[in-house]
């Protein structure tokens, strides 16, 4: 998938899983390669554990549209327990892409969701996060899976930006853990 | 913020201010002069006038402390005079005077 046109992404997560940070990170990475973007969460009475939504728009040109994203091309689900709680496919076109953090195979998810059309990808981002970062925060590995599936940017741009921006706040160990998480998810994401 | 000097304070000439056009009034209705409340003569509000009896006065100056319009003049730590331009005739001075040296008389009556 190219980025000549506007790409719209919806993130599903629970409060505290880092979806807003991921949307922000993706926007900042897009900036580092000269792209235009918008990243915005949906605000409501959310708190730790509650289902939340975040959105990202990416384009090579200025983005005028300001309404909420109702027909995303890409849906990223950071927590597979949400699959039974909310309709993550709402507004997603039949050729749209679903990227889900789960230890299941894409075919199993398709069957469980009784899904028609769309392309399903899965990655065990929680396991990867535990093994690389040491905490079950699936947001950075999901970035790796996202860029692999969509090709919206080269993985090097993501890891480079992670090193640059995390460098100010985190230890070398945490930064390299996150970089490794992105790389592993990039390699391990499964297609149907 | 920096300190500015615009001009040294001169008396604000408000002659005919009731009929001034909007351009002539200071910005935001500010009053560009300090202490000009004294220009407003409130003596005309008075219906009773205080008078002073030198014989009875002990110069305790309790009247000076209590006068709400600063209308008791004191000179060399002694009672001097009433400021009839601003005294509204409220009678507080007469009321607080311990020696009854101040009494109130009707305005326009006997001095």
């Amino acid at each position: 998938m190219g980025v000549e046109k506007l790409t719209e992404i919806r993130w599903h997560a629970r409060g505290g899983q880092g979806a807003v940070t991921a949307a922000k990170l993706l926007a900042e990475t897009a900036l580092s390669q000269g792209q235009y973007f918008q990243a915005f969460p949906e605000y409501g009475p959310e708190r730790m554990g509650a289902p939340i939504l975040a959105f990202t728009r990416i384009s090579n040109g200025p983005i005028h549209i300001r309404s909420s994203i109702t027909n995303p091309e890409i849906v990223v689900v950071l927590d597979s327990t949400l699959l039974s709680a909310v309709d993550v496919t709402e507004g997603l076109d039949t050729d749209g892409v679903l990227i889900i953090n789960t230890d299941e195979e894409p075919a199993a998810i398709r069957k469980a969701m009784k899904l028609k059309g769309r392309k399903v990808y899965t990655v065990d981002a929680t396991k990867i996060a535990k093994e690389t970062i040491g905490r079950a925060i699936p947001n950075t590995p999901m970035m790796g899976a996202l860029v692999r599936v969509t090709g919206i940017m080269p993985i090097e741009n993501v890891t480079e930006y992670l090193r640059k921006s995390f460098g100010k706040k985190f230890s070398e160990e945490i930064i390299e853990g996150n970089v490794k998480a992105v790389e592993r998810a990039y390699a391990e994401v499964k297609a149907e | 913020m920096s300190k500015t000097k615009i001009k040294t304070q001169t008396k604000w000439n408000i002659k005919g201010i009731e009929n001034w056009g909007w351009k002539k009034h200071p910005l935001g209705a500010t009053i560009p002069e300090a202490g000009n409340a004294a220009d407003y003569k409130t003596g005309g509000w008075r219906s009773n006038r205080p008078i002073w009896d030198e014989e009875k006065c002990t110069n305790c100056l309790i009247c000076w402390i209590n006068c709400p319009d600063s209308s008791i003049r004191v000179k060399d730590e002694k009672w001097d005079s009433f400021d009839y331009d601003h005294c509204k005739g409220c009678g507080i001075c007469a009321n607080v005077c311990p020696t009854k040296a101040i009494t109130m008389v009707e305005e326009g009556g006997e001095k």
């Binding site: 973007f37 915005f40 309404s67 909420s68 | 920096s2 615009i6 001034w20 910005l27 935001g28 209705a29």
Partner: protein, 404 residues
């Protein structure tokens, strides 16, 4: 983005920031003497960010923590009268609580700059965007500027300071951007260097100051009937002056930044037959729709008001004269009135002109209801029918997207 794209004469940095972070950054670069503010959603992140700047010592600002917005504006009035350069920020109920101070600030001719991050007025209580808060304050004697993007929110902050302090204006300025949509979305925009902003806003030299003990004066005296009316006339003239000053300062800013703003933005309006008038972030979505419909060969355009107070009536009537029909979309309702605030201004602006389009009114997006391209396309569809004479013009205002 900008109305006219000039070549910038100074280096700029492209950032990924929320609109509120951009406003806080502009405040930091202005480095006001005093900020008196109280946090309220969705403005909170401006005061949070700015408090960080204060705590880190990167600004010289005296930050006054107050117990309410009533006190915030009171503190700002006192500080501004004292001779300080003053800024603040609020939203919704916060602006409502400032009510009586708003008109005092303007009547005392104090050049306070305030962000009002647009949020609907309660009730029912709601934290999301509409313009009912700032539209309710439209007769308070403040200059009011609306921004579409984070870029405009940032730029307007810097421009507003110069407008407020201009000797022909000397009025407070309220700058608006849409709550959450602009305030909390991470957006791409360009920012000037600190030194450039510092030079652009210059040092504030008050001509009247309570703390100028060499020139003592009284602020805020009682004005009896012989004096009150003349003060209000002076305010009207000053607010009208703001039109030219906004243009002049914006032009100067344009030379620096390459982004020149007018009183309103005309988007593909020159050869349009029908157009939508809408301010704030929805103007962006309207541009998207205009592009889409233009690709289909429809002669559509957009007029995005930037300055709402003073309202550029004559200029707008001129810009609209060639159109067959226009739709005014208001993100606030003036309940009991013929339509929303922008609608009424536009209609009034056109009434005494001979060549004028038909005007239809719409209310949209109250309490943060999403307004997507489909709704704006519906509006253009209505206009097209009216322009072709297929449908009778509507007198009553249409509430877009409301569930019947």
């Amino acid at each position: 983005m900008a109305t006219t794209a000039n070549k910038a004469t100074t280096k700029q940095t492209t950032v990924a920031m929320t609109g509120n972070a951009g406003c806080a950054l502009a405040m930091k670069q202005i480095n006001p003497d005093v900020v008196g503010a109280y946090p309220i959603t969705p403005q909170t992140t401006i005061v949070e960010e700015f408090a960080n700047y204060v705590a880190n010592g990167v600004v010289d600002t005296e930050y006054i923590n107050v117990e309410s917005e009533h006190s915030a504006m009171s503190a700002c009035i006192g500080a501004s009268a004292a001779g300080a350069r003053v800024m603040t920020t609020t939203s919704s109920q916060g602006l409502a609580l400032m009510w009586e101070e708003l008109s005092i600030a303007s009547a005392m001719r104090l050049p306070i700059v305030m962000h009002n991050v647009n949020r609907s007025l309660s009730g029912p209580i709601n934290i999301h965007c509409d313009h009912s808060d700032s539209m309710g304050a439209r007769d308070m004697g403040w200059v009011q500027m609306f921004g579409e993007t984070a870029q405009e929110a940032y730029d307007n902050t810097i421009i507003a300071m110069r407008v407020a302090e201009h000797e022909k204006v000397m009025l407070p300025v309220m700058i608006m951007h849409d709550g959450f949509i602009t305030s909390h979305a991470i957006d791409r925009f360009d920012v000037l260097d600190d030194e450039v902003v510092k030079k652009f806003v210059g040092e504030y030299v008050p001509k009247r100051a309570l703390l100028d003990t060499d020139n003592p004066m009284t602020f805020g005296p009682f004005a009896m009937p012989p004096y009150y009316y003349e003060q209000r006339k002076a305010m009207r003239v000053a607010l009208e002056n703001a039109k030219d000053v906004v243009l002049k300062v914006s032009k100067e800013y344009g030379k620096l930044s390459g982004r020149t703003y007018g009183l309103f933005e005309e988007y593909r309006l020159d050869d349009a037959h029908i157009a939508v008038i809408v301010l704030g972030s929805t103007a962006g979505t309207a541009k998207y729709v205009v592009d889409k419909l233009r690709d289909k060969g429809m002669k559509v355009g957009l007029l995005k008001p930037r300055l709402f107070r003073p309202f550029p009536s004559a200029e707008m009537a001129d810009a609209l004269s060639h159109l067959k029909a226009v739709a005014v979309m208001d993100r606030s309702d003036s309940i009991g009135a013929p339509g929303g605030p922008v609608y009424m201004e536009v209609k009034a602006a056109l009434y005494n002109t001979t060549k004028r389009p038909h005007v239809q009114g719409y209310v949209y997006g109250l309490g943060g209801r999403d307004t997507g391209p489909d709704q704006i396309e519906t509006v253009f569809g209505d206009l097209q029918k009216v322009a072709r004479g297929e449908e009778a013009p509507r007198e009553a205002v249409t509430l877009l997207g409301v569930k019947e």
